[in-house]
Symmetry: C2
Subunit: 330 residues, 2 copies
Amino acid sequence: MAEHKYDVLAIGNAIVDIIGRCNDMFLVKHGATKGGMRLVDAETVKAIYADMGPGIEISGGSAANTMVGVASFGGSAAFIGKVSDDEFGGIFAHDIKAAGVSFKTAKSKGGAPTARSLVLVTPDGERTMNTFLGVSPELNQGEVDLAEVRAAKIVYLEGYLFDRPDAKAAFRTAATEAKAAGGQVALTLSDSFCVDRHRAEFLDLIKTQVDILFANESELKSLYKVATFEEGARLAKAQAKIAVLTRGAKGSVIMSGDKAVTVGAEPVKQVIDTTGAGDLYAAGFLYGHAAGKPLDICGRLGSIAAAEIISHIGARPETSLAALAKKKGF
Amino acid sequence: MAEHKYDVLAIGNAIVDIIGRCNDMFLVKHGATKGGMRLVDAETVKAIYADMGPGIEISGGSAANTMVGVASFGGSAAFIGKVSDDEFGGIFAHDIKAAGVSFKTAKSKGGAPTARSLVLVTPDGERTMNTFLGVSPELNQGEVDLAEVRAAKIVYLEGYLFDRPDAKAAFRTAATEAKAAGGQVALTLSDSFCVDRHRAEFLDLIKTQVDILFANESELKSLYKVATFEEGARLAKAQAKIAVLTRGAKGSVIMSGDKAVTVGAEPVKQVIDTTGAGDLYAAGFLYGHAAGKPLDICGRLGSIAAAEIISHIGARPETSLAALAKKKGF
C-alpha cells in the first residue's frame, strides 16, 4: 500500500459564514428552529440579512472547518468543495489555503454565487444557521479528484452533502475508492433535520462503508428514531465500527466493538458562540486517530479543539491547536 | 436656524477590513511601517493577501466606524461614502445601516471594486493597514448631498479624504455649507503619513474652517514638524478652536481657548486589536459634544468607546456604547 499523503481529506460544502447576534424573537419571526441548520433560497437569505444586525464574515463549512482544525493540530489535510470566482469564493479559498489545507477544486465562473450561511448567535451562545448553498451543489463527480481521495488515510464526508442529489454518487465513489486504497471512511451526520431527510441512506452507509460515525445527541436520536441517548448509543454500537457520540457540555462517548470510552468536556470560561463545536471535535478526533492514538486520547483532543472554538466568534480556530494540545500535556 | 436632523454626519472612505494576525517580520517583508496606514494598488493588496494568514471580514473605514459609534451611543448619525455593487459593497452597506446609521450614497455599477484594507495585527495588538481604495475615490462632489450636510449639528471629515484629489473640493464645500447652516466642522488627521502628504492644506483648514480638530500624538508632531507632544499641543491650542489630542494609553488632552482638560484612558484587561481606537474615541467625543456636554465628559465618553474597541478584533463596537456609558455612570 502506498504511503498516504494526507491524514484526512474532506468533501463538503464550501461556505462563508455571516455571523451576527440576535435575540430569540428574531428566530421566531423568521421561522428558524433554534440550534438547527436550514437551507434557504436566495430570496430568504436576502430578507433575513436585510433584517439582521451588523455581521462578521468568517470562512466556514462544516467539513472545511474540520480540515482547518486538523491542519492546526499539525496534521496534513485536504478539502474538496465548490466556490464561485466571486469575492466570497476568494475569501473561502484564501482562508482554507492560508490555514495550511490543500484546496484545488476549480472555481466556477459566473452563475450561482459562493454559498453563505447567516449564523445567528443568541445571548446563550447557541447558533442557528440559515444556509444558501449557491454554487456548492454544482460540485460534480468528475471534480472529486480520486487520486487525492486515495492519498488520504481517512476520507471525511459531511451529511449535508446528501442535500445535493448529484453529490451522493460522488460520496459513494469516494468512499469506495478510499477503502480500496487502504483508507478509512468517516461520516458526520451534520444536523438532525439532515438526518431526517436522508435516514435510510445514512443507515445503509453506516452498515456498509463507514468506519467512523460522528453524531451528536439529537442527530443520533433522529437517526434511530429513539427517545433517549442510551437507546441510540446501543444501536450505534451494534451497527457502526467506531461511533463517536458528542453530548455538548456532557462530553462524548466513543464506542468500538466491546469498548466504550467516556470523555469529559473541557472547561470553558464563557461560551461565546457554539458554531463549529462538532466540527472541531471531529478535527481533534480525526487528527488523533490518523496518528494511531487510542480512542480516549482522540476524544480528549476533540474536546480541547471544541472548547477553543466555542470560546470565540466563528468556527475557525484563533490559536494553534498543536500548541494548545501541547500545553494540555499531549 | 432649522432643527438639525443628525447629531453628526461624516464623509469618508467606505472600506471593508480584512483582519489577520502576523508577526513583525511579515510587516518588514512587505515593507509596511508598523502602526501606519498606507495606500496600496490592486497588485500589492493581492500579493499581501496571498501571503497573509486566514482573515476575518468586518466593515471599517475610519469615519464610518466613528458614525457607528455615535449611533451606538444613541446619537443620530449619517455617512456619505462610495461603494461598488459587489459583495464587499453589500457587506459595508448592510452593516452601517444595520448599526442605525443613515447611508444613502448610490452604489457604483461595475468598474472598480469596493475598497478593502488588509489590517495586520501583531502580537502586541498594534494594527498596520494596507488599503486599496478601489471605487472609494470616485465619490464626487455631486454625491455629497448638501441638504444632508446642512441637517447635521457636526460634519465630520476624515483626513484620508485628501488622498483623493476630487474629494478635496467636496470636503471644502461641505464644510462651508455646514457652517452656513449653523453646524460645526470636525476634522481628524487620520494618520501621520497622511498629514505629511497634505500638511499645508490641513494647516489652512484648521485656521479657517475647522471647529474641532482630532489628532493623535504622531499626527500632531507631523502636522507641526515638532519633536515633542508639548510643542505640538502649544501650537494646536493657539490655532484650533477645539483641539482633541489623543495619546493612547496615556489618555487624551482637550484644549479650547484658555481651557485644557486632561482625561485618563479607561483601563483595559488586554489589548487585542487597536484598530479603530481613534475612530471610537472621536465617536464618544462627538456624541457628547453634540449633546452639549462639557469637554471633560466628552473625553470620558471617548475613552470608554476606545477601551471597548481595543478589547476585541475589529473597529465596530460589539456591545451597546449607550449601555456601557450608563454602566460607567453617564
